[in-house]
């Protein structure tokens, strides 16, 4: 009995308000109750989970180790004059968010001319948007700016505009951070004029976001953490620290050259894909029999050093196999999703690349074999090995997998399943429902369905619409995950849609209705939707976590 297993494993019950253990509630109930135990909600794994168990903002609540700034005590005068300078810098920075004072503008222009003389080392490589002039209004109008700098104040990454042109701005940012640290304080954010400036300190790097989105400070900080992990996934924590120990003012862009696209893509993806907000992985809906066939073929194609075999399609998980006792963290999988979606280079041949999965182990590299199953498909297979000499062994595994899939006709079935979505509005049976996100907390999986309605053709498909909808979900998420006053249920009435959020110890549900629906009908439709999810759970989720 699944429930017994879960009890023995001591599933973490996060919420004190959950009802005490009761055998009735432990069963996989048809309809939802707020007191539903974690592990019994729809989408919960039946025999344990495939992901590391995580909490929202887990990294934000655990403090980093002590920070040493190399600022000696007793430098009283120094600090005082620093303070003058910094308060001046501070006022410049805040003006810069709305308009640039003259001298600053000149300074920036100077930098610009510098840039013309010495073209950017990799100017031919930049994607075009890096050439954006940082003195223009359009640069300032970006919704979210992200900057990464080293503790020496050297630019590492900027989302818009070239890093050189922004070096003085980044210097000011570093000054702010170090000034407060000298007093054993830490700057977390500045809220001014509709902007949130969020600081994230992960020695030897400092990450800063300047946003005018509806996100909470925590949500923005979480995104900065993702950027940090993205950098780690390319370099490892060990290498990153080693470099800066050797040379404090190292220009990290040398090592990150060519990775700007990956970071840019991550930021774009986070603005559209709810995976990052949910801290969970989206499964590709698939009939259980098809998924079983994929799993069986993956299980056949194993090798000694393989740790994870992951089949994905457009940032959705199709199947995941893992080595016994090794668990993947959703953040690591998100980074892999992003890596693959940010480059078309994987379509050419078989890629073999070192990759660090920072949440699994930030100190070393895995080696990943990445290849699409065919030229014209979105199915991409990742085979993660511990041995960098393993390319041909792992490449053989891929071939074995593909051969078996083809022999048994599973490949054809899978391709067809990808072409035909199995759900329809009538199946769910809630005509006002346009879109929903349902996340099972115990399995770290979520499903998201966009239901085409007869009145509005395909809502939330354009980039703008996706971002707008995610913005609304972000707002609901921030209200339900606020550390001081978190809400359990929210009904939000907007001009274009009504939304409902319901967060319990076991699951999170966010529903988006047509604006013409009523609150009563929305509330009454919840149990209908939950019953549907329960009925379809073996398609919507991966319920069993398989090992080799």
């Amino acid at each position: 009995m699944a429930a017994d297993v879960q009890k023995k494993k001591g599933w973490e019950v996060q919420n004190g308000s959950l009802a005490p253990l009761d055998s009735l509630q432990l069963e996989r109930s048809e309809s939802p109750t707020p007191s539903m135990m974690q592990g019994s909600e729809p989408g919960a794994g039946q025999e344990g989970t495939m992901f590391v168990h995580t909490r929202s903002y887990e990294d934000l609540t655990t403090d980093e180790g002590p920070v040493s700034m190399g600022l000696k005590k007793g430098d009283g005068d120094q600090i005082e004059s620093d303070m003058e300078q910094i308060s001046k810098d501070f006022s410049e920075l805040s003006t810069k968010l709305t308009g640039i004072p003259m001298d600053m503008e000149e300074e920036l222009r100077e930098n610009d001319s510098d840039q013309q003389e010495k073209p950017r080392r990799d100017s031919v490589l930049s994607s075009g948007k890096n050439d954006e002039d940082v003195t223009t209004d359009s640069w300032r109008r970006h919704k979210k700016q992200v900057f990464v700098l080293s503790e020496a104040g050297k630019p590492v990454y900027s989302r818009y505009g070239s890093e050189e042109a922004l070096s003085s701005t980044m210097g000011v940012m570093m000054a702010l951070v170090s000034f407060l640290e000298a007093e054993k304080n830490a700057i977390k954010s500045i809220h001014a004029d509709g902007y949130k400036v969020v600081f994230m300190r992960r020695s030897p790097l400092v990450l800063v976001a300047v946003a005018r989105t509806r996100q909470s400070e925590q949500e923005i900080a979480q995104e900065l953490l993702y950027i940090y992990y993205q950098i780690l996934s390319l370099l490892t924590w060990t290498q990153l620290n080693h470099i800066f120990q050797q040379k404090q003012n190292y220009d990290l862009r040398r090592l990150l050259a060519g990775s700007e696209r990956i970071t840019d893509n991550l930021l774009d993806l986070m603005a559209q894909d709810p995976s990052f907000l949910m801290g969970a992985v989206r499964c590709l809906p698939l009939a259980a029999s098809v998924r079983d066939a994929v799993n069986a073929s993956l299980q056949q194609a194993k090798a000694k050093n393989l740790v994870f075999s992951i089949l994905i399609s457009k940032n959705q998980l199709v199947a995941l196999l893992r080595k016994k006792d090794q668990f993947l963290h959703p953040v690591d999988l998100h980074l892999l999703f992003n890596l693959i979606s940010s480059s078309t280079s994987f379509r050419e041949g078989e890629a073999w690349t070192p990759i660090c999965l920072p949440k699994f182990n930030a100190s070393g590299f895995f080696h990943a074999h990445i290849s699409y199953l065919a030229q014209e498909t979105d199915l991409c297979l990742l085979l993660v090995s511990t041995n960098r000499e393993d390319f041909f062994t792992v490449s053989e595994c891929k071939q074995k997998f593909l051969d078996r899939m083809r022999r048994r006709g599973s490949y054809q079935t899978l391709q067809e399943a990808l072409r035909t979505p199995f759900y329809s509005v009538s199946q769910v049976g809630i005509p006002e429902l346009r879109h929903f996100i349902y996340k099972s907390k115990s399995s770290r999986l979520f499903t998201r369905l966009c239901l085409p309605s007869p009145k509005i053709e395909a809502p939330y498909v354009t980039k703008e619409e996706k971002e707008r909808l995610l913005g609304l979900y972000q707002y609901l998420h921030s209200r339900t995950h606020n550390s001081s006053r978190s809400l359990k249920t929210i009904y939000y009435t907007g001009t274009n849609e009504n939304l409902l959020a319901w967060v319990t110890g076991a699951f999170e549900l966010y529903m988006c209705y047509s604006p013409l629906g009523t609150k009563a009908s929305a509330v009454s439709s919840i149990s209908k939707l939950m019953k549907w999810i329960r009925r379809e759970e073996d398609r919507l989720f991966i319920l069993t976590s398989l090992t080799y």
Binding site: D122, V124, L125, S127, G128, L234, L235, R254, L255, L256, A257, G258, S259, R261, N305, V307, D325, Q326, L339, S343, T344, S345, F346, E348, G349, E350, A351, W352, T353, P354, I355, C356, N361, S363, G364, F365, F366, H367, A368, T386, N387, R388, E389, D390, F391, F392, T393, S395, E396, Q399
Partner: protein
């Protein structure tokens, strides 16, 4: 390796953006992709069979990333290579610095690897000869000095691309003694258990 036997391990080396991937694309898929630059992540492997004097030779081409980030582990890609195509951009003199670096590296670590210097983007000179920053004869002299070969190619037009790879295969057939290839087909890959970069402690 999926039924294919790789006869010649070929590694593509050179600074980022000189066009290593484009060269492989042109040779293997006979196409030139326009659109934004995509840097290679890690390395990509592709096998191609080629006919040399009635004999089929399979080239296993490793297209490596030019980024410095991967330099520390580039050895796994060029170890045991029979041929290295070291690329530079004829319109960018700085790209030749990396050529010298790679040649030195190969000479000290892989004495049996033949070196092919390849100047890319020849088509850029069509309308504007002044774009050339690396003199043909200078590079040719350097190639002779290191006992390597020298080509100038255009992946856009396909000029000299097939010739280059054909030469790689021919040299293999002509100069490799009839002995068992001990380093072929990943044998060397599975013999050494290097744990330096692996991170699973179990």
């Amino acid at each position: 390796m999926s039924g294919q036997r790789v006869d010649v391990k070929v590694v593509m080396l050179g600074k980022e953006f000189v066009g290593k991937t484009s060269l492989v694309e042109r040779y293997v898929h006979h196409r030139f992709l326009l659109g934004p630059y995509q840097n290679t992540i890690g390395a990509a492997f592709v096998a191609k069979a080629i006919n040399v004097e009635g004999r089929v030779v399979t080239l296993g081409i490793w297209d490596t990333a030019g980024s410095e980030r991967y330099e520390a582990m580039s050895r796994i890609y060029y170890r045991g290579a029979k041929a290295a195509i070291v690329c530079y951009d004829i319109t960018d003199s700085s790209s030749f610095q990396r050529v010298k670096f790679w040649v030195k590296e190969l000479q000290s670590c892989e004495q049996h690897c033949r070196i092919y210097l390849c100047g890319t983007k020849l088509d850029l000179l069509e309308n504007d000869r002044s774009k050339r920053q690396l003199d043909f004869h200078d590079v040719r002299d350097y190639a002779e000095e290191i006992k390597g070969r020298h080509y100038e190619t255009s992946s856009k037009t396909g000029q000299n691309v097939d010739e280059l790879f054909q030469k790689v295969a021919e040299d293999y057939v002509h100069f490799t003694p009839f002995q068992v290839m001990t380093e072929e087909n990943g044998v060397d890959l599975s013999q050494k258990k290097e744990t330096y970069f692996s991170c699973c402690h179990h």
